[in-house]
Point group: none
Chain length 240, copies 2
């Protein structure tokens, strides 16, 4: 994870989005997906009603389709920009020419996404706009931890904690253990392990992996409830 909060959901309050889109099918999907991401979404299909909605809802960000009946997205954008200089406004449009894009930015848009777009792209660009706006603050580092019986494995720290202390893992230890954890209670293919840790088949006849499996087994031997079982001809079954 990055040091700075370029991808993060808002902390205290939910972020509200004013979404203007006249296509019903697309609108429904986008609204629901954004809501699934924890955003508070008001979806308006009628360009003429947008400003009323805007004033009562007071969103954190606007996502606007350009081609709308009666009034176009550029006009809406200009109106909103007139009220709020720093409001992030993302255009979402089927207009693909550069001239349209330029027009979008000139109208005061802060980003422009061409249709068809992936929802992921919209989400990431919304978050990006919000981050640009609140370009401050530090995010907590990614302290992912995996519980393994009485142990706790910190992949990003290369550490394995237990009651009796902390074991510092080497690069290889960490890689092998991570992959086993990813397949907890399922068989991890020996080949897959070799390929993803060493990225090469030249290790297929080497005993290198076995050495690390042994090392990990030794580390984890303090807790009998977790175990790396060998499935001969297949791989390893990490149970815990």
């Amino acid at each position: 994870m990055p040091v700075h909060p370029y991808i993060s959901t808002e902390n205290s309050m939910t972020t509200s989005i004013l979404y203007v889109e006249d296509e019903l099918f697309l609108g429904k999907i986008v609204k629901e997906t954004l809501e699934g991401q924890g955003f508070d979404v008001v979806w308006e299909t009628d360009g003429a009603k947008v400003m009323n909605r805007f004033n009562s809802f007071n969103p954190d960000i606007c996502v606007i389709d350009i081609m709308l009946p009666n009034i176009d997205g550029y006009s809406l954008c200009r109106q909103i920009r007139g009220l709020y200089q720093n409001m992030p406004i993302i255009f979402l449009t089927a207009k693909t020419t550069t001239a349209d894009l330029v027009k979008g930015f000139e109208a005061g848009g802060t980003d422009y996404i061409r249709k068809p777009f992936s929802i992921e792209e919209l989400i990431i660009r919304i978050k990006n706009q919000l981050n640009l706006k609140n370009s401050n603050g530090h995010t907590a580092p990614d302290n992912q931890e995996i519980k393994l019986g009485s142990f706790t494995f910190f992949p990003t720290k290369y550490e394995l904690h237990s009651a009796s202390g902390t074991i510092k893992l080497s690069q290889r230890d960490q890689q092998v253990l991570s992959l086993l954890c990813a397949n907890l209670n399922r068989v991890t293919d020996r080949r897959e392990l070799l390929l993803s840790v060493w990225g090469d088949d030249s290790f297929f006849n080497s005993r290198n992996l076995d050495v690390y499996i042994r090392k990990l087994r030794t580390y984890l031997s303090a807790d009998p409830s977790i175990e790396i079982q060998t499935i001969k001809g297949k791989g390893y079954l990490f149970i815990g």
Copy 2:
């Protein structure tokens, strides 16, 4: 015309762009076009030399291709972001998948343009990024200081402050520490470090970097909560 000056060139001084692109043909065209728009452009083709260029040039915005020899655009972005929280960074890339776009934003990018792109789009997005930055009113909140446990690191001053006094850092000290800070709580590739500090692979068999790591470890030893851990075969994990 927009209500607010969302499209405008910088007022007093010319805007400077650090442009990283290894394709010579494209690079030349883009550089010349941007210069034709009144920008001051430094074009660098070698990813390994970018950080040196960056430090001496001190640009207003960076435009970075992702796929580069030796070091990739994401890494460069993380490094720059570590130094300057508010530096606009636009990715310019042939990678079209949404996953790559997400990766770009996660690395700290502030916009992402897919190739092939029109020069007009690049220009408008550059101007947009500059406007977004200025509209925040954050003219110079860029990392003048970085908190490291009980220390405070002033990259631009080449100083490390602690309760017991101020340590004056050398050029190399500062570069290495800056890069470690950019990847705080994440592994900094040894290779990446060598490339961006020395810009060259001729140091791969030298003990030079180790000497600086030791120096920094000694400086930081007063506070056990921050630590430069070695991940063999990979690099350094700076935790704090």
